[in-house]
Symmetry: C2
Subunit: 132 residues, 2 copies
DNA sequence: ATTGTAGTTTATAATGATTCTAAAAAAGTG
DNA sequence: CACTTTTTTAGAATCATTATAAACTACAAT
């Protein structure tokens, strides 16, 4: 299994639950956005083994903490996560409630001129809301 | 009362609850960010009259719908609102859990190059997360 | 392999922000 | 005032998320 090392190197034991979730999230060239609920559905469909909802939450948060997932800042009833952890931005289609990636090249360079004493910038994220 | 007309013109009856919330939110030169809970606290302190939590929610959502408040897209346990409804951006201090305004002049012009068929841009918001 | 231990999973309960409900109160109209 | 519509309200319901604590598992040391 290709994810065993990745998990071990992160200090996470490669359990079968985590490996299954790795397969769903990372075993593809395309990155994507998802909610916990959507991930839960994929897990159910994929195999006859079910993973406890608590474990799905735990795993997603563990992966986020390790930098394998990003949480997308958006006001929605559910939290969105992103398997694309590179710096990039998003369209949010208000009607469809769907996120669409915006590469850095789709958005000019963003230069934050204001500085806050004793704080440093961790991330700069642009959210572009779309309507019909 | 200076807010009676404003409310009437919006098709909202100027009730004493709405007027009191108007005073708290708009009777100042400075704009600010708040959660429903923080607004609730201010209401309690301000007067001996209490407003039902449901009414606070109703009023804030009504004002948002009329364009007198903006919801700030951020992942927090509580929803943040902004009395500054002009186009502007935010720092989010992760430690303090506080929002700080970023004027458009503090952020260069943002040019979204990608277009989505049949959709138009409603807003462009930058969130800059700060850490120590 | 057997044991011991820390880490993980799980079902379930708890939490808490937000929304819903339906009855009472207030506002607007004439 | 009489009538209609809107609003307020307390409390219940919702629901995503987190906490709990017991069972299970990975894994290293014996
Ligand atoms: Mn989370
Ligand atoms: Mn809302
Ligand atoms: Zn993305
Ligand atoms: Zn602001």
């Amino acid at each position: 299994m290709k994810y065993i090392e990745k998990l071990r190197n992160s200090g996470l034991r490669p359990t079968k639950q985590r490996l299954q979730i790795c397969e769903i999230l990372f075993n593809t060239d395309k990155t994507f956005h998802f909610t916990i609920n959507e991930l839960e559905q994929k897990i159910k469909k994929q195999a006859n083994n079910k993973i406890s909802l608590a474990t799905v939450y735990n795993t997603v948060h563990a992966f986020e903490k390790k930098g394998y997932l990003k949480q997308i800042p958006i006001n929605s009833s559910e939290t969105y996560f992103d398997t694309n952890v590179t710096d990039h931005h998003h369209f949010y289609d208000l009607k469809e409630e769907k996120l669409i990636d915006l590469d850095n090249s789709d958005v000019g360079p963003i230069n934050i001129l204001k500085k806050i004493n004793g704080k440093k910038i961790k991330s700069v994220e642009v959210l572009v809301k779309l309507e019909d």
